[in-house]
Protein backbone atom coordinates (compact mmCIF):
# COMPACT_ATOMS: atom_id res chain seq x y z
CA UNK A 1 0.00 0.00 0.00
CA UNK A 2 1.26 3.46 -0.78
CA UNK A 3 0.47 6.55 1.18
CA UNK A 4 -2.16 9.02 0.12
CA UNK A 5 -1.01 12.50 -0.72
CA UNK A 6 -3.31 15.25 0.44
CA UNK A 7 -3.72 17.59 -2.54
CA UNK A 8 -2.31 21.11 -2.20
CA UNK A 9 -0.97 20.28 1.21
CA UNK A 10 0.40 23.69 2.02
CA UNK A 11 1.10 24.21 5.68
CA UNK A 12 -2.08 25.58 7.15
CA UNK A 13 -2.11 28.07 9.92
CA UNK A 14 -5.57 29.37 9.50
CA UNK A 15 -6.60 26.21 11.37
CA UNK A 16 -9.99 26.13 12.82
CA UNK A 17 -10.26 24.22 16.04
CA UNK A 18 -12.57 21.29 15.61
CA UNK A 19 -14.08 19.08 18.22
CA UNK A 20 -11.93 16.75 20.27
CA UNK A 21 -11.30 13.32 18.77
CA UNK A 22 -13.21 11.83 21.72
CA UNK A 23 -16.29 13.78 20.66
CA UNK A 24 -15.85 12.57 17.09
CA UNK A 25 -15.83 9.03 18.51
CA UNK A 26 -19.23 9.63 20.11
CA UNK A 27 -20.60 10.98 16.84
CA UNK A 28 -19.28 8.03 14.89
CA UNK A 29 -20.77 5.58 17.39
CA UNK A 30 -24.21 7.07 16.77
CA UNK A 31 -23.67 6.80 13.01
CA UNK A 32 -22.67 3.16 13.46
CA UNK A 33 -25.55 2.43 15.79
CA UNK A 34 -28.03 3.61 13.19
CA UNK A 35 -26.81 1.23 10.53
CA UNK A 36 -25.64 -1.76 12.57
CA UNK A 37 -27.96 -3.23 15.21
CA UNK A 38 -25.11 -5.43 16.44
CA UNK A 39 -23.16 -2.49 17.82
CA UNK A 40 -23.12 -2.54 21.63
CA UNK A 41 -21.32 0.12 23.65
CA UNK A 42 -19.81 -0.21 27.11
CA UNK A 43 -18.32 2.40 29.39
CA UNK A 44 -16.88 2.49 32.88
CA UNK A 45 -18.47 5.56 34.47
CA UNK A 46 -16.84 7.98 32.06
CA UNK A 47 -19.45 8.02 29.32
CA UNK A 48 -19.82 11.79 29.44
CA UNK A 49 -16.06 12.20 29.15
CA UNK A 50 -15.43 9.60 26.45
CA UNK A 51 -18.57 10.78 24.61
CA UNK A 52 -20.00 7.27 24.46
CA UNK A 53 -22.95 8.97 26.21
CA UNK A 54 -23.99 10.14 22.76
CA UNK A 55 -24.66 6.52 21.86
CA UNK A 56 -26.32 5.89 25.22
CA UNK A 57 -28.79 8.68 24.52
CA UNK A 58 -29.73 7.29 21.10
CA UNK A 59 -29.60 3.58 21.88
CA UNK A 60 -30.09 3.04 25.62
CA UNK A 61 -30.88 -0.65 25.18
CA UNK A 62 -27.51 -1.28 23.56
CA UNK A 63 -25.46 0.68 26.05
CA UNK A 64 -24.11 -0.67 29.33
CA UNK A 65 -22.19 1.20 31.94
CA UNK A 66 -20.28 -1.32 34.02
CA UNK A 67 -19.47 1.09 36.81
CA UNK A 68 -15.86 1.68 37.76
CA UNK A 69 -14.69 -1.78 36.78
CA UNK A 70 -12.49 -1.69 33.69
CA UNK A 71 -11.27 -5.29 33.83
CA UNK A 72 -14.86 -6.50 33.91
CA UNK A 73 -15.76 -4.19 31.02
CA UNK A 74 -12.92 -5.39 28.82
CA UNK A 75 -13.87 -9.04 29.32
CA UNK A 76 -17.60 -8.38 28.86
CA UNK A 77 -16.77 -6.77 25.52
CA UNK A 78 -14.82 -9.87 24.52
CA UNK A 79 -17.72 -12.09 25.58
CA UNK A 80 -20.13 -10.01 23.52
CA UNK A 81 -17.82 -10.29 20.52
CA UNK A 82 -17.44 -14.06 20.94
CA UNK A 83 -21.24 -14.25 20.82
CA UNK A 84 -21.45 -12.28 17.58
CA UNK A 85 -21.91 -8.70 18.76
CA UNK A 86 -19.79 -5.70 17.71
CA UNK A 87 -18.81 -4.14 21.03
CA UNK A 88 -17.06 -0.81 21.59
CA UNK A 89 -15.76 -0.36 25.13
CA UNK A 90 -14.40 2.99 26.23
CA UNK A 91 -12.85 4.63 29.24
CA UNK A 92 -9.88 6.86 29.87
CA UNK A 93 -6.97 5.29 27.96
CA UNK A 94 -4.92 4.91 31.14
CA UNK A 95 -7.61 2.92 32.94
CA UNK A 96 -8.75 0.92 29.93
CA UNK A 97 -5.30 -0.25 28.89
CA UNK A 98 -3.48 -0.41 32.20
CA UNK A 99 -6.25 -1.91 34.34
CA UNK A 100 -7.60 -4.02 31.49
CA UNK A 101 -4.28 -5.30 30.14
CA UNK A 102 -4.55 -8.96 31.12
CA UNK A 103 -8.16 -8.99 29.95
CA UNK A 104 -7.18 -7.33 26.66
CA UNK A 105 -4.44 -9.90 26.29
CA UNK A 106 -6.33 -13.10 27.06
CA UNK A 107 -9.93 -12.23 26.20
CA UNK A 108 -9.35 -10.04 23.15
CA UNK A 109 -5.91 -10.57 21.56
CA UNK A 110 -5.29 -14.23 22.34
CA UNK A 111 -8.94 -15.14 21.74
CA UNK A 112 -9.01 -13.07 18.52
CA UNK A 113 -12.25 -11.48 19.64
CA UNK A 114 -13.75 -8.92 17.29
CA UNK A 115 -13.96 -6.32 20.04
CA UNK A 116 -13.09 -2.62 19.82
CA UNK A 117 -11.56 -0.58 22.61
CA UNK A 118 -11.31 3.20 22.73
CA UNK A 119 -9.21 5.03 25.31
CA UNK A 120 -9.88 8.74 25.68
CA UNK A 121 -7.82 11.47 27.35
CA UNK A 122 -4.65 9.99 25.87
CA UNK A 123 -1.28 11.60 26.43
CA UNK A 124 -0.47 14.55 28.68
CA UNK A 125 -2.80 17.02 26.97
CA UNK A 126 -5.48 16.01 29.47
CA UNK A 127 -3.66 18.60 31.56
CA UNK A 128 -4.40 19.47 35.16
CA UNK A 129 -5.52 16.03 36.33
CA UNK A 130 -1.90 14.94 36.35
CA UNK A 131 0.03 11.73 35.71
CA UNK A 132 -2.40 9.21 37.24
CA UNK A 133 -4.87 10.17 34.49
CA UNK A 134 -2.33 10.77 31.70
CA UNK A 135 -1.88 7.79 29.42
CA UNK A 136 1.67 7.82 28.12
CA UNK A 137 2.11 4.04 27.75
CA UNK A 138 -0.97 2.98 25.78
CA UNK A 139 0.68 2.73 22.35
CA UNK A 140 3.39 0.49 23.77
CA UNK A 141 0.97 -1.69 25.70
CA UNK A 142 -1.46 -2.12 22.85
CA UNK A 143 1.19 -2.59 20.14
CA UNK A 144 2.53 -5.44 22.26
CA UNK A 145 -0.68 -7.43 21.83
CA UNK A 146 -0.58 -9.77 18.80
CA UNK A 147 -3.25 -9.06 16.23
CA UNK A 148 -4.38 -5.71 17.65
CA UNK A 149 -4.82 -2.73 15.36
CA UNK A 150 -3.67 0.44 17.15
CA UNK A 151 -5.00 3.82 16.02
CA UNK A 152 -4.35 7.41 17.06
CA UNK A 153 -6.32 9.88 14.93
CA UNK A 154 -5.23 13.49 14.56
CA UNK A 155 -8.51 15.33 14.07
CA UNK A 156 -12.25 14.83 14.11
CA UNK A 157 -12.54 13.73 10.48
CA UNK A 158 -9.75 11.22 10.88
CA UNK A 159 -11.27 9.93 14.13
CA UNK A 160 -14.79 9.53 12.75
CA UNK A 161 -13.58 7.71 9.68
CA UNK A 162 -11.34 5.41 11.68
CA UNK A 163 -14.17 4.43 14.03
CA UNK A 164 -15.99 3.17 10.96
CA UNK A 165 -12.86 1.37 9.71
CA UNK A 166 -12.50 -0.25 13.15
CA UNK A 167 -16.05 -1.50 12.89
CA UNK A 168 -15.38 -2.98 9.44
CA UNK A 169 -12.10 -4.57 10.50
CA UNK A 170 -12.44 -8.16 11.65
CA UNK A 171 -10.37 -8.44 14.80
CA UNK A 172 -9.46 -6.61 17.98
CA UNK A 173 -8.67 -2.91 17.66
CA UNK A 174 -7.70 -0.02 19.93
CA UNK A 175 -8.07 3.71 19.35
CA UNK A 176 -6.70 6.52 21.47
CA UNK A 177 -8.70 9.74 21.52
CA UNK A 178 -7.77 13.06 23.07
CA UNK A 179 -9.33 15.43 25.58
CA UNK A 180 -8.64 18.86 24.02
CA UNK A 181 -10.20 20.22 20.90
CA UNK A 182 -8.08 19.27 17.91
CA UNK A 183 -7.23 21.52 14.94
CA UNK A 184 -9.11 20.55 11.80
CA UNK A 185 -6.63 19.06 9.34
CA UNK A 186 -9.01 17.29 7.01
CA UNK A 187 -12.45 17.59 5.51
CA UNK A 188 -15.46 15.36 5.12
CA UNK A 189 -14.25 14.09 1.74
CA UNK A 190 -10.91 12.83 3.01
CA UNK A 191 -10.73 9.07 3.27
CA UNK A 192 -8.78 7.04 5.79
CA UNK A 193 -7.74 3.42 5.76
CA UNK A 194 -6.21 1.34 8.49
CA UNK A 195 -2.48 1.02 7.89
CA UNK A 196 -2.27 3.76 5.27
CA UNK A 197 -0.59 7.03 6.23
CA UNK A 198 -1.77 10.44 5.08
CA UNK A 199 1.06 12.36 3.47
CA UNK A 200 1.23 16.15 3.67
CA UNK A 201 3.60 17.56 1.08
CA UNK A 202 6.29 15.89 -0.94
CA UNK A 203 9.35 17.36 0.76
CA UNK A 204 12.57 15.46 0.17
CA UNK A 205 14.85 16.89 2.86
CA UNK A 206 13.30 15.17 5.83
CA UNK A 207 10.16 13.23 6.77
CA UNK A 208 8.30 14.01 9.98
CA UNK A 209 6.15 11.06 11.00
CA UNK A 210 3.56 11.86 13.67
CA UNK A 211 0.25 10.76 15.09
CA UNK A 212 -2.54 12.25 17.15
CA UNK A 213 -2.18 15.89 18.18
CA UNK A 214 1.47 15.80 17.17
CA UNK A 215 0.43 15.91 13.50
CA UNK A 216 -0.66 19.53 13.87
CA UNK A 217 2.64 20.41 15.56
CA UNK A 218 4.45 18.60 12.75
CA UNK A 219 2.62 20.69 10.18
CA UNK A 220 3.61 23.85 12.07
CA UNK A 221 7.20 22.65 12.06
CA UNK A 222 6.95 21.89 8.35
CA UNK A 223 5.94 25.53 7.68
CA UNK A 224 8.71 26.94 9.83
CA UNK A 225 11.27 24.70 8.14
CA UNK A 226 9.99 25.79 4.73
CA UNK A 227 10.73 29.40 5.69
CA UNK A 228 14.28 28.29 6.39
CA UNK A 229 14.56 26.48 3.06
CA UNK A 230 14.14 22.97 4.45
CA UNK A 231 11.61 20.93 2.52
CA UNK A 232 9.88 18.49 4.86
CA UNK A 233 7.05 16.06 4.32
CA UNK A 234 4.70 15.09 7.10
CA UNK A 235 3.17 11.66 7.43
CA UNK A 236 0.07 11.38 9.58
CA UNK A 237 0.65 7.86 10.84
CA UNK A 238 -2.80 7.44 12.37
CA UNK A 239 -2.28 3.68 12.38
CA UNK A 240 0.59 2.81 14.67
CA UNK A 241 0.03 -0.89 14.12
CA UNK A 242 0.11 -2.19 11.46
CA UNK A 243 2.35 0.74 10.59
CA UNK A 244 2.52 1.87 6.94
CA UNK A 245 5.86 0.32 6.05
CA UNK A 246 5.59 1.28 2.40
CA UNK A 247 5.15 4.96 3.19
CA UNK A 248 7.97 4.82 5.72
CA UNK A 249 10.31 3.05 3.30
CA UNK A 250 9.47 5.59 0.66
CA UNK A 251 10.10 8.47 3.05
CA UNK A 252 13.39 6.97 4.18
CA UNK A 253 14.51 6.45 0.60
CA UNK A 254 13.42 9.83 -0.73
CA UNK A 255 14.29 11.98 2.29
CA UNK A 256 17.14 10.05 3.91
CA UNK A 257 16.27 11.40 7.38
CA UNK A 258 13.30 10.86 9.65
CA UNK A 259 11.86 12.47 12.78
CA UNK A 260 8.99 10.89 14.68
CA UNK A 261 6.67 12.80 17.02
CA UNK A 262 4.22 11.33 19.48
CA UNK A 263 2.45 12.27 22.71
CA UNK A 264 3.74 9.13 24.40
CA UNK A 265 6.84 7.82 26.09
CA UNK A 266 9.75 7.27 23.73
CA UNK A 267 9.68 3.60 24.67
CA UNK A 268 7.59 1.29 22.56
CA UNK A 269 5.36 3.72 20.69
CA UNK A 270 5.28 5.25 17.22
CA UNK A 271 9.01 5.94 17.16
CA UNK A 272 9.79 2.30 17.85
CA UNK A 273 7.39 1.11 15.18
CA UNK A 274 8.83 3.51 12.59
CA UNK A 275 12.43 2.74 13.55
CA UNK A 276 11.82 -0.95 12.99
CA UNK A 277 10.34 -0.30 9.57
CA UNK A 278 13.20 2.04 8.65
CA UNK A 279 15.80 -0.43 9.83
CA UNK A 280 14.19 -3.21 7.83
CA UNK A 281 13.64 -1.31 4.61
CA UNK A 282 15.97 1.64 4.12
CA UNK A 283 18.16 2.55 7.10
CA UNK A 284 18.36 6.29 7.66
CA UNK A 285 19.23 8.54 10.62
CA UNK A 286 16.32 9.25 12.94
CA UNK A 287 15.44 11.56 15.80
CA UNK A 288 12.55 11.03 18.18
CA UNK A 289 10.18 13.55 19.75
CA UNK A 290 8.25 12.17 22.70
CA UNK A 291 8.20 12.02 26.48
CA UNK A 292 11.60 11.00 27.75
CA UNK A 293 11.39 8.40 30.49
CA UNK A 294 9.31 10.40 32.94
CA UNK A 295 5.79 11.14 34.09
CA UNK A 296 4.49 14.66 33.64
CA UNK A 297 2.57 16.80 36.15
CA UNK A 298 -0.43 19.10 36.58
CA UNK A 299 -0.57 22.15 34.35
CA UNK A 300 -2.47 23.40 31.34
CA UNK A 301 -2.21 21.23 28.24
CA UNK A 302 -0.21 23.90 26.39
CA UNK A 303 2.21 24.29 29.27
CA UNK A 304 2.72 20.54 29.45
CA UNK A 305 3.20 20.04 25.73
CA UNK A 306 5.92 22.69 25.84
CA UNK A 307 7.60 21.60 29.06
CA UNK A 308 7.78 17.95 27.97
CA UNK A 309 9.14 18.80 24.55
CA UNK A 310 6.25 18.02 22.23
CA UNK A 311 5.54 21.31 20.44
CA UNK A 312 6.63 22.45 16.97
CA UNK A 313 9.96 24.04 18.02
CA UNK A 314 11.09 20.69 19.43
CA UNK A 315 10.24 19.00 16.15
CA UNK A 316 12.20 21.70 14.28
CA UNK A 317 15.14 21.11 16.62
CA UNK A 318 14.98 17.37 16.01
CA UNK A 319 14.88 17.94 12.27
CA UNK A 320 18.02 20.05 12.43
CA UNK A 321 19.74 17.41 14.50
CA UNK A 322 18.84 14.63 12.11
CA UNK A 323 19.89 16.68 9.08
CA UNK A 324 23.38 17.00 10.56
CA UNK A 325 23.60 13.22 10.53
CA UNK A 326 22.26 12.86 7.02
CA UNK A 327 24.91 11.43 4.75
CA UNK A 328 24.22 13.34 1.56
Amino acid sequence: MSSTTVPNAKPKFEWKMGVATREAYGQALVELGKVNPNVVVLDADLAKSTFSAKFQKEFPDRFFTVGIAEANMVSIASGLALAGKLPFASSFAVFLCDKGMDQLRVGAAYSRANAKYVGSHGGISIGEDGPSQQSVEDYALMCALPGFVVLSPSDEFCARALVHRMAEHDGPAYMRTGRPKAPILYGPNDTFEIGKAKQHGNGRDVAIIACGLEVSYALQAQAQLADEGIDARVLDMHTIKPVDEAAIANAAKECGAIVTAEEHLLDGGLGSQVARAVGKTCPAPMEFVGIDNTYAESATPDQLMEKYGLTAPFIVKAVKAVLKRKSR
Binding site: A71, N72, G79, K85
Partner: protein, 289 residues
Protein backbone atom coordinates in the same frame (compact mmCIF):
# COMPACT_ATOMS: atom_id res chain seq x y z
CA UNK B 1 -22.93 -20.79 10.71
CA UNK B 2 -25.68 -23.27 11.16
CA UNK B 3 -29.09 -22.73 12.61
CA UNK B 4 -29.86 -26.34 13.44
CA UNK B 5 -32.94 -26.42 15.60
CA UNK B 6 -32.97 -30.10 16.54
CA UNK B 7 -32.10 -30.17 20.22
CA UNK B 8 -32.32 -33.95 20.34
CA UNK B 9 -28.81 -34.08 18.86
CA UNK B 10 -27.27 -33.36 22.25
CA UNK B 11 -25.74 -36.60 23.52
CA UNK B 12 -27.70 -37.80 26.51
CA UNK B 13 -27.11 -40.40 29.20
CA UNK B 14 -30.29 -41.20 31.06
CA UNK B 15 -29.33 -43.69 33.73
CA UNK B 16 -27.48 -42.80 36.90
CA UNK B 17 -25.40 -45.93 36.58
CA UNK B 18 -24.25 -44.96 33.10
CA UNK B 19 -23.52 -41.42 34.23
CA UNK B 20 -21.34 -42.80 37.02
CA UNK B 21 -19.58 -45.09 34.56
CA UNK B 22 -18.96 -42.12 32.28
CA UNK B 23 -17.50 -40.11 35.17
CA UNK B 24 -15.25 -43.05 36.03
CA UNK B 25 -14.13 -43.39 32.41
CA UNK B 26 -13.36 -39.65 32.24
CA UNK B 27 -11.21 -39.93 35.36
CA UNK B 28 -9.20 -42.74 33.78
CA UNK B 29 -8.74 -40.66 30.64
CA UNK B 30 -7.70 -37.59 32.66
CA UNK B 31 -5.04 -39.51 34.57
CA UNK B 32 -3.72 -41.12 31.39
CA UNK B 33 -3.72 -37.84 29.46
CA UNK B 34 -1.83 -35.90 32.10
CA UNK B 35 0.52 -38.82 32.66
CA UNK B 36 1.30 -38.99 28.94
CA UNK B 37 1.73 -35.22 28.74
CA UNK B 38 4.13 -35.25 31.66
CA UNK B 39 2.58 -32.07 33.04
CA UNK B 40 -0.85 -30.72 33.87
CA UNK B 41 -3.32 -30.32 36.71
CA UNK B 42 -4.88 -33.58 37.88
CA UNK B 43 -6.39 -32.43 41.19
CA UNK B 44 -8.73 -29.77 39.84
CA UNK B 45 -9.52 -31.84 36.75
CA UNK B 46 -10.71 -34.79 38.82
CA UNK B 47 -12.83 -32.63 41.12
CA UNK B 48 -14.99 -31.23 38.30
CA UNK B 49 -15.83 -34.51 36.54
CA UNK B 50 -19.44 -35.04 37.66
CA UNK B 51 -20.24 -31.38 37.01
CA UNK B 52 -18.95 -31.61 33.44
CA UNK B 53 -20.56 -35.01 32.83
CA UNK B 54 -23.94 -33.65 33.91
CA UNK B 55 -23.50 -30.55 31.75
CA UNK B 56 -22.47 -32.33 28.56
CA UNK B 57 -24.75 -35.38 28.86
CA UNK B 58 -27.84 -33.93 30.52
CA UNK B 59 -28.09 -30.17 30.74
CA UNK B 60 -26.37 -28.28 27.93
CA UNK B 61 -28.23 -27.66 24.71
CA UNK B 62 -25.51 -28.42 22.21
CA UNK B 63 -24.60 -30.37 19.11
CA UNK B 64 -21.09 -31.83 18.89
CA UNK B 65 -21.54 -32.19 15.12
CA UNK B 66 -22.31 -28.47 14.83
CA UNK B 67 -20.21 -26.79 17.51
CA UNK B 68 -21.00 -23.27 16.28
CA UNK B 69 -24.76 -23.71 16.26
CA UNK B 70 -25.97 -20.20 17.09
CA UNK B 71 -28.60 -21.31 19.60
CA UNK B 72 -26.32 -23.55 21.64
CA UNK B 73 -25.73 -23.04 25.33
CA UNK B 74 -22.29 -21.62 26.09
CA UNK B 75 -19.90 -23.18 28.57
CA UNK B 76 -16.76 -21.36 29.71
CA UNK B 77 -14.15 -23.14 31.81
CA UNK B 78 -12.79 -20.14 33.67
CA UNK B 79 -10.47 -22.42 35.66
CA UNK B 80 -8.61 -23.14 32.45
CA UNK B 81 -6.08 -25.44 34.09
CA UNK B 82 -8.92 -27.96 34.57
CA UNK B 83 -9.11 -28.44 30.79
CA UNK B 84 -8.09 -32.14 30.67
CA UNK B 85 -11.51 -32.96 32.12
CA UNK B 86 -13.21 -30.68 29.61
CA UNK B 87 -11.30 -32.22 26.71
CA UNK B 88 -12.17 -35.71 27.90
CA UNK B 89 -15.89 -34.99 28.24
CA UNK B 90 -15.94 -33.23 24.87
CA UNK B 91 -14.27 -36.26 23.29
CA UNK B 92 -16.85 -38.58 24.86
CA UNK B 93 -19.61 -36.25 23.65
CA UNK B 94 -18.25 -36.45 20.10
CA UNK B 95 -16.46 -33.14 19.52
CA UNK B 96 -13.14 -34.83 18.87
CA UNK B 97 -11.91 -38.38 18.50
CA UNK B 98 -10.85 -40.05 21.73
CA UNK B 99 -7.45 -40.77 20.16
CA UNK B 100 -6.72 -37.03 20.22
CA UNK B 101 -6.69 -37.08 24.03
CA UNK B 102 -3.21 -38.61 23.94
CA UNK B 103 -1.85 -35.45 22.30
CA UNK B 104 -2.59 -33.20 25.30
CA UNK B 105 0.03 -30.43 25.57
CA UNK B 106 1.98 -31.74 22.58
CA UNK B 107 3.09 -29.51 19.70
CA UNK B 108 0.23 -28.84 17.30
CA UNK B 109 -2.42 -30.53 19.42
CA UNK B 110 -5.90 -29.01 19.61
CA UNK B 111 -5.62 -29.81 23.31
CA UNK B 112 -3.40 -26.98 24.48
CA UNK B 113 -2.21 -26.68 28.07
CA UNK B 114 -5.03 -24.23 28.73
CA UNK B 115 -8.14 -23.82 26.55
CA UNK B 116 -7.26 -22.20 23.21
CA UNK B 117 -9.88 -21.61 20.52
CA UNK B 118 -7.18 -21.07 17.91
CA UNK B 119 -6.41 -24.79 18.12
CA UNK B 120 -9.81 -26.11 19.22
CA UNK B 121 -12.50 -23.84 17.78
CA UNK B 122 -15.34 -25.62 19.57
CA UNK B 123 -14.18 -24.05 22.83
CA UNK B 124 -16.11 -20.91 23.73
CA UNK B 125 -13.28 -18.85 25.23
CA UNK B 126 -9.57 -18.82 25.88
CA UNK B 127 -8.89 -18.97 29.58
CA UNK B 128 -5.98 -19.66 31.86
CA UNK B 129 -5.45 -16.29 33.47
CA UNK B 130 -7.86 -16.64 36.36
CA UNK B 131 -10.83 -14.46 37.14
CA UNK B 132 -12.05 -13.58 33.67
CA UNK B 133 -14.64 -16.26 32.90
CA UNK B 134 -17.65 -14.74 34.65
CA UNK B 135 -17.12 -11.44 32.84
CA UNK B 136 -16.81 -13.24 29.49
CA UNK B 137 -19.99 -15.14 30.35
CA UNK B 138 -21.77 -11.87 31.13
CA UNK B 139 -20.89 -10.65 27.64
CA UNK B 140 -22.40 -13.80 26.15
CA UNK B 141 -25.49 -13.61 28.37
CA UNK B 142 -26.02 -9.98 27.37
CA UNK B 143 -25.73 -10.96 23.70
CA UNK B 144 -28.40 -13.62 24.17
CA UNK B 145 -30.69 -11.15 25.89
CA UNK B 146 -30.18 -8.49 23.21
CA UNK B 147 -30.99 -11.07 20.53
CA UNK B 148 -33.99 -12.36 22.52
CA UNK B 149 -32.53 -15.87 22.48
CA UNK B 150 -33.09 -18.45 25.18
CA UNK B 151 -29.68 -20.10 25.21
CA UNK B 152 -27.95 -20.16 28.57
CA UNK B 153 -24.38 -19.39 29.60
CA UNK B 154 -22.59 -21.53 32.18
CA UNK B 155 -19.23 -20.60 33.67
CA UNK B 156 -17.16 -22.85 35.92
CA UNK B 157 -14.66 -21.21 38.22
CA UNK B 158 -12.27 -22.59 40.76
CA UNK B 159 -12.59 -21.69 44.42
CA UNK B 160 -9.06 -20.34 44.68
CA UNK B 161 -9.86 -18.41 41.51
CA UNK B 162 -12.64 -16.63 43.40
CA UNK B 163 -9.89 -14.70 45.19
CA UNK B 164 -9.41 -12.68 41.98
CA UNK B 165 -11.13 -9.30 42.32
CA UNK B 166 -12.60 -9.27 38.82
CA UNK B 167 -15.06 -11.98 39.87
CA UNK B 168 -16.69 -9.55 42.26
CA UNK B 169 -16.88 -6.77 39.68
CA UNK B 170 -18.67 -9.33 37.53
CA UNK B 171 -20.86 -10.56 40.39
CA UNK B 172 -22.12 -7.03 41.02
CA UNK B 173 -22.85 -6.48 37.34
CA UNK B 174 -24.67 -9.77 36.71
CA UNK B 175 -27.16 -9.36 39.53
CA UNK B 176 -27.69 -5.65 38.89
CA UNK B 177 -28.58 -6.49 35.31
CA UNK B 178 -30.73 -9.47 36.37
CA UNK B 179 -28.85 -11.96 34.22
CA UNK B 180 -30.95 -15.01 34.97
CA UNK B 181 -29.51 -16.58 31.81
CA UNK B 182 -26.09 -16.87 33.47
CA UNK B 183 -25.02 -19.62 35.86
CA UNK B 184 -21.72 -19.82 37.68
CA UNK B 185 -20.55 -23.13 39.07
CA UNK B 186 -17.80 -22.91 41.67
CA UNK B 187 -15.76 -26.09 41.89
CA UNK B 188 -15.32 -25.77 45.64
CA UNK B 189 -12.53 -28.29 46.23
CA UNK B 190 -11.06 -26.26 49.09
CA UNK B 191 -7.51 -26.24 47.73
CA UNK B 192 -5.33 -24.06 45.58
CA UNK B 193 -1.76 -24.40 44.34
CA UNK B 194 0.00 -23.48 47.55
CA UNK B 195 -2.27 -25.47 49.84
CA UNK B 196 -5.69 -25.36 51.48
CA UNK B 197 -7.85 -22.28 51.03
CA UNK B 198 -8.25 -21.98 54.79
CA UNK B 199 -4.48 -21.50 55.07
CA UNK B 200 -4.19 -19.01 52.21
CA UNK B 201 -7.26 -16.81 51.68
CA UNK B 202 -10.49 -18.55 52.57
CA UNK B 203 -13.46 -17.24 50.57
CA UNK B 204 -15.89 -18.88 53.01
CA UNK B 205 -18.76 -18.39 53.42
CA UNK B 206 -18.84 -18.49 49.65
CA UNK B 207 -22.57 -18.86 49.02
CA UNK B 208 -23.30 -16.04 51.46
CA UNK B 209 -20.94 -13.79 49.53
CA UNK B 210 -22.73 -14.43 46.23
CA UNK B 211 -26.10 -13.97 47.95
CA UNK B 212 -24.93 -10.66 49.34
CA UNK B 213 -24.06 -9.71 45.78
CA UNK B 214 -27.64 -10.45 44.73
CA UNK B 215 -27.29 -13.96 43.36
CA UNK B 216 -29.43 -16.99 43.95
CA UNK B 217 -27.22 -19.75 45.31
CA UNK B 218 -27.46 -23.50 45.49
CA UNK B 219 -25.05 -25.55 47.61
CA UNK B 220 -24.58 -29.12 46.54
CA UNK B 221 -22.33 -32.14 46.69
CA UNK B 222 -20.54 -31.74 43.37
CA UNK B 223 -19.96 -35.47 43.03
CA UNK B 224 -23.59 -36.55 43.53
CA UNK B 225 -25.49 -36.60 40.24
CA UNK B 226 -28.74 -36.58 42.23
CA UNK B 227 -27.80 -33.10 43.41
CA UNK B 228 -25.76 -31.87 40.44
CA UNK B 229 -28.36 -32.45 37.73
CA UNK B 230 -31.33 -30.85 39.52
CA UNK B 231 -29.18 -27.87 40.49
CA UNK B 232 -28.01 -27.30 36.91
CA UNK B 233 -31.53 -27.78 35.55
CA UNK B 234 -32.96 -25.39 38.13
CA UNK B 235 -30.33 -22.81 37.26
CA UNK B 236 -30.96 -23.18 33.54
CA UNK B 237 -34.70 -22.77 33.97
CA UNK B 238 -34.50 -19.82 36.40
CA UNK B 239 -36.71 -16.92 35.50
CA UNK B 240 -36.60 -14.93 38.70
CA UNK B 241 -34.25 -12.22 37.48
CA UNK B 242 -31.24 -13.50 39.39
CA UNK B 243 -28.08 -15.15 38.13
CA UNK B 244 -27.43 -18.44 39.88
CA UNK B 245 -24.25 -19.54 41.62
CA UNK B 246 -23.95 -23.25 42.28
CA UNK B 247 -21.44 -23.83 45.05
CA UNK B 248 -20.40 -27.40 44.36
CA UNK B 249 -18.51 -29.00 47.21
CA UNK B 250 -15.96 -31.33 45.70
CA UNK B 251 -12.84 -33.26 46.54
CA UNK B 252 -9.65 -32.30 44.79
CA UNK B 253 -8.18 -35.40 43.15
CA UNK B 254 -11.50 -37.24 43.55
CA UNK B 255 -11.37 -40.95 42.70
CA UNK B 256 -7.63 -41.47 43.09
CA UNK B 257 -6.96 -42.13 46.76
CA UNK B 258 -3.38 -40.88 46.82
CA UNK B 259 -4.40 -37.63 45.11
CA UNK B 260 -7.51 -36.89 47.14
CA UNK B 261 -7.20 -33.90 49.45
CA UNK B 262 -3.50 -33.60 48.80
CA UNK B 263 -2.51 -30.16 47.48
CA UNK B 264 0.68 -31.67 46.08
CA UNK B 265 -1.44 -32.95 43.17
CA UNK B 266 -2.63 -29.52 42.06
CA UNK B 267 -0.21 -29.23 39.18
CA UNK B 268 1.96 -32.33 39.06
CA UNK B 269 1.68 -35.13 36.51
CA UNK B 270 1.57 -38.73 37.75
CA UNK B 271 4.57 -40.86 36.79
CA UNK B 272 3.93 -44.08 34.84
CA UNK B 273 3.69 -46.24 37.96
CA UNK B 274 1.35 -43.70 39.54
CA UNK B 275 -0.79 -43.66 36.40
CA UNK B 276 -0.98 -47.46 36.56
CA UNK B 277 -1.96 -47.40 40.25
CA UNK B 278 -4.59 -44.72 39.67
CA UNK B 279 -6.07 -46.51 36.66
CA UNK B 280 -6.17 -49.81 38.57
CA UNK B 281 -8.01 -48.13 41.42
CA UNK B 282 -10.50 -46.46 39.08
CA UNK B 283 -11.08 -49.68 37.11
CA UNK B 284 -11.74 -51.53 40.36
CA UNK B 285 -14.18 -48.80 41.36
CA UNK B 286 -15.93 -49.11 38.01
CA UNK B 287 -16.80 -52.72 38.74
CA UNK B 288 -18.66 -51.63 41.86
CA UNK B 289 -20.87 -49.07 40.06
Amino acid sequence: MSTTADVTVAPRIESMVELKRMANRLRIEIVKMIGAAGSGHPGGSLSEVELLTALYFRVLRHNPKDPHWLDRDRFILSKGHGCPALYAVMAEAGYIDRSVLGTLRKMGSPLQGHPDRRFFPALEANTGSLGQGISLGIGMALAARLDKKDWHTFVMTGDGEIEEGQNWEAAMFASYHKLENLTVIVDYNHQQLDGFLKDILDPAPLAAKFEAFGWRTLEIDGHDFNQVIPALETARAAKDGKPVCIVANTIKGKGVSFMENNPAWHGVAPKPDEVAAAVAELEAAAKKI
